[in-house]
Amino acid sequence: MTAAIETRGLTKRFGGLVAVDKVDLKAAAGETLGIIGVNGAGKTTLMNCICGLYRPDDGDVFVAGDRVTGQPPHVIAHHGIGRTFQVPRVFRKMSLIDNLLVPVLDRKASDAELIERAEAMLERMQLIALRHNHAEELSGGQQKLLEMARMLMPDPPIVMLDEPFAGVHPVLCKFMIDRIEETARAGKAVLLISHDLTSIYRLSTRVIALNQGRIIAEGGVDDIRGNPAVIEAYLGT
């Protein structure tokens, strides 16, 4: 079966530093692939290479079997990849509704239909009461929810979440975990970066561990949890 998202030998260098080093990964529809690693392991750079913000120096990215390597971010997005950022990049001076309309600007639907969809999405994220507020008025955790809602608006088959739980209140974390589980159950391939190992172990079908840009371990949650290379990378012992 063709993977929803796949990378083969993906490599990104910044001068002499190899930030992502020959990374092969695959995620199928409905699967949540956890990506773990200490700071500077190359997790976010890997995501940036997949979504086109960085042009990889080597290797390839495939979406549903189509090679998208080196294409501009908007073209890759149209192949069906949505993502969030570690620090939410919401449109601060725009209302929540307008934030959600931006990714569907070119959709052939009436404004009323798009607004209805945006409101349903805000309802799902429990932000509907704030729909006319500016995004800058939201808390950090709510901004992460808004960004997730915005990512889901065009209904992409692949979603990439970069540290969705960082700095978020535990109650909101639980709510986000439920939404991510819901997203995977809806048949989307989820790539999840997190430092929060408890959450990532709970959500992931499979996990890859990165260190200095390389995959040092890959497998099911139990395989990774007890993997000596992962423990060494995290604890330095």
Partner: protein, 293 residues
């Protein structure tokens, strides 16, 4: 004295409206493209010369020159974007390079206008009927009132476009976070070309209004409007179109009121005092919106 103050206020609104348009087009460019267009004043004055040529060569009245300039400058801006900007984007420091490149463009544009129209100041000898109209106790030239009406209509149309239409929202989103908008499937190159074309159209139209409001212009007048545009952009907050509209009007009012209360030489430095004061005390502009890189 009251009449002088009222006169200063009315003229401040008229001149401020023009300054607002000069500033909003520059700030749109900077907001979306992160491009510092040092040739902005020359774009504006090219609009004045277009109105001059249309009127003196073909008898086209300035009012009709407004839509012609809008269309012509929009098309020229669209083409110019693809000639100039993609090369800039490949440089290590596009912002600095844009400053240097457009400084060169400003010199070239001024030289071209000098070649075509020589160094003499030009004026459009078009008169409205009646020549002036009574506004309360004072008389204001009809041309100035027409220019004010056009600036108000354009400002409202621009605000409606930016806040009520989907392409306008995309432009605002691009100003706030260009990287985020790219990964949402919006073609930032096309959007940037549109922003460049829109800013050029606004510059061209503003040039026509300048030809209506001010007594004369020449090939070197552009530099003055570039400086005014920078003052308005800084005062309004970098990349903030609404801020620029407000700042333009405020600056126009301050400048015109200064001519009432201060000697002429002092009044001319008001703009620079505002510029330096804003940078020192309110670097995020009057609306307090800090530009986010």
């Amino acid at each position: 004295m009251e009449l002088l103050i009222l006169n200063g206020l009315v003229n401040g609104l008229i001149v401020g409206g023009i300054y607002a348009l000069v500033g909003v087009s520059l700030t749109l460019l900077y907001g979306v493209l992160r491009v510092v267009n040092f040739a902005h004043g020359e774009f504006v004055i090219a609009g004045s010369f277009l109105a001059f040529v249309l009127f003196s060569g073909f008898g086209v009245p300035p009012l009709l020159a407004v839509p012609i300039a809008a269309v012509a400058f929009f098309a020229a801006g669209w083409g110019l974007y693809y000639v100039l900007i993609p090369r800039l984007a490949r440089s290590d420091d596009p912002e600095l390079m844009s400053f240097l490149m457009f400084y060169g463009v400003s010199i070239a544009a001024a030289a071209l206008m000098l070649l075509l129209f020589e160094a003499d100041s030009r004026t459009i000898d078009y008169t409205f009927t009646p020549v002036s109209m009574q506004v309360g106790p004072i008389y204001v030239s009809t041309a100035r009132l027409v220019a004010l009406a056009i600036t108000v209509v354009i400002s409202i149309a621009l605000a409606l476009f930016l806040f009520k239409t989907l392409p306008g929202k995309a432009l605002r989103a691009a100003i706030m976070n260009p990287e985020a908008i790219m990964i949402m499937g919006v073609d930032i190159v096309r959007l940037s070309a549109f922003a460049f074309a829109l800013a050029s159209a606004l510059a061209g139209v503003t040039g026509v209004l300048i030809a209506l409001v001010f007594p004369a212009f020449n090939a070197f007048s552009g530099a003055e409007y570039t400086i005014i545009a920078f003052i308005v952009v800084v005062l309004g907050g970098l990349g903030n179109p609404v801020g620029a509209l407000l700042a333009g009007v405020l600056f126009g009012l301050a400048e015109q009121m200064a001519t009432v209360f201060l000697p002429q030489a002092m009044a001319q430095i008001v703009g620079f005092v505002i510029l330096v004061g804003t940078i020192f005390f309110r670097p995020s502009g009057i609306l307090g919106v800090r530009f986010k890189r």
